[in-house]
């Protein structure tokens, strides 16, 4: 059963992303291999894109109402559909938390403009569950 009407929101300043890039933690702990291909393969890291994805991951995590859990950064992937819209892939602990919360699928919207990115996540009815576009 899908939990009705859950919403999550989060904001990530670009300065936080630049600091994390310096420590190498983004690639190792927070972004999946597919996300790294989207965001880190260019000449320069896509800082607004990374900030948007980190905000989206946290916004999705908030849908789970998972008190006492850490954000499963790599299990919440924010990928890109052919249309350019972001889509969410859950795996591992993130997928288990979603199932436990009765969440079938998730939609996100991201916006970014210096100095920060903002993302909103919404639960979607099971009937609208999407596979990878």
């Amino acid at each position: 059963m899908t939990a009705p009407g859950r919403i999550g929101i989060d904001m990530v300043p670009f300065t936080r992303v630049r600091a994390l890039l310096g420590g190498g933690l983004l690639a190792g702990r927070m972004l999946s291999a597919d996300e790294r291909r989207l965001l880190l393969d260019g000449d320069e890291p896509d800082v607004p894109g990374i900030a948007g994805r980190l905000a989206a991951k946290e916004a999705v995590f908030k849908l789970f109402h998972a008190t006492g859990e850490t954000v499963p950064w790599q299990g919440i992937e924010i990928l890109r559909a052919e249309s350019g819209a972001p889509w969410v892939r859950l795996s591992g602990r993130a997928a288990a938390l979603a199932r436990g919360a009765g969440i079938g699928s998730v939609s996100v919207s991201i916006t970014h403009d210096e100095p920060c990115a903002v993302a909103v996540a919404l639960t979607a009815p099971d009937s609208e569950e999407r596979s990878a576009p």
């Binding site: 990530v12 420590g23 927070m30 006492g68 859990e69 850490t70 499963p72 602990r93």
Partner: protein, 80 residues
């Protein structure tokens, strides 16, 4: 690195991110007081890993072990 050195590294790292603070109480809740948020939590784990030399599995973390400096000391810097 001694036990006290390790927790001092953690304390100093948190203080370096909060210049408005002169000290952190041993039982002060790091999350509730927003000394550590979800992004800096990843960095905190990294700081503890560096100080202990042991990797921490993100998916089996018990948040209670990171709730305060005294909890971190008990979980990661106490010798048997």
């Amino acid at each position: 690195m001694t036990v006290n050195d390790g927790i001092d590294v953690v304390r100093n790292w948190i203080l370096s991110r909060h210049p408005e603070r002169a000290r952190i109480g041993p039982d002060e809740d790091l999350v509730r007081t927003r000394l550590v948020d979800s992004l800096s939590f990843v960095e905190l784990v990294y700081v503890i890993e560096n100080a202990t030399g042991a990797e921490i599995d993100f998916d089996t973390i018990d948040l209670k072990d990171f709730q305060s400096l005294s909890a971190i000391q008990r979980a990661f810097f106490t010798t048997a």
